[in-house]
Symmetry: C2
Subunit: 167 residues, 2 copies
């Protein structure tokens, strides 16, 4: 039952942040939408930022997972890779507010540093599996490259909305 409430909290988080943005979403709102008590959110997640990042990793894992579902071992590795990239980009295109918030949090210097949650590991693992299909000699390095490429692509997709504001 533990995962049940956790999952509801994460889904509510993604929904609300997509609708209102990060700052305009309170932990109380999230608890309300999830139909749970306020305290439970803090019980499962040690902070608002981490809650959103974990929720995003979960969402991306889920999205990627569904996108890869119809593929089979007879499909070429390139198709697997292309499908993966597409799924992430489509997510960014469909929920720009959410994705911009996520990237913003990654960019923002945090005192907490880097936290390896389970959802994050799952998502990363899935990506590495796809890369391994191509017979990559160094999957870790390739993963880093893909990661950067994905972030760059998302930026390009999302920045037009923000580009009125020069760097």
């Amino acid at each position: 039952m533990r995962s049940r409430s956790r999952a509801r909290i994460m889904r509510a988080t993604v929904e609300l942040v997509d609708e209102r943005g990060f700052e305009r979403t309170t932990l109380g709102d999230i608890a309300e939408r999830a139909g749970l008590a306020r305290g439970l959110v803090s019980y499962y997640f040690p902070g608002k930022r981490i809650l959103l990042q974990t929720s995003m990793h979960r969402l991306m894992h889920q999205t990627l997972s569904e996108a890869l579902e119809p593929l089979g071992d007879d499909d070429p590795p390139e198709l697997w890779l292309a499908t993966s990239i597409d799924s992430v980009l489509e997510l960014a295109a469909r929920r720009p507010t959410l994705m911009r918030t996520h990237l913003s949090l990654i960019l923002a210097p945090s005192a907490e540093g880097f936290i390896q949650d389970v959802e994050q590991k799952r998502f990363g693992g899935l990506l590495r599996e796809v890369l391994a299909r191509g017979g990559a000699e160094d999957p870790v390095a390739d993963h880093a490259v893909l990661r950067s490429a994905l972030m760059g692509a998302c930026m390009g997709l999302l920045l037009p909305g923000a580009e009125a504001e020069p760097g």
Copy 2:
């Protein structure tokens, strides 16, 4: 004398955010470092985010201005452009926390939308002047391109610190 206190507030903001980051800096801290009353900060700036963005635009204008100082009309337009780009990148390299925070705020979806403060206009104007030296037929379009290129370059420079966290 109006500009005096305003400038002190902006300088204190840049200093503190560079040292501690955005969230760990309060308006009270800023007022204290500036040697002014807490309320004055809110008197001049309608919010913490806008305060930092305005301060950054001011800082970038100042930095760019100083970098261009030694150049003269006999210097080739390419040197003016290169110097401009270098000054911004050097700023990012020297104060990564500050610059990451700034980019993070640009990326973060804000309810306030886009605010054209004076400092912002000054900085943009200076950049356009540099572009005009090259005899650009469409300085506005070139400005947009330069802007995007600058943001991209800063990202590349700053992301290694954040790249442990996949998109």
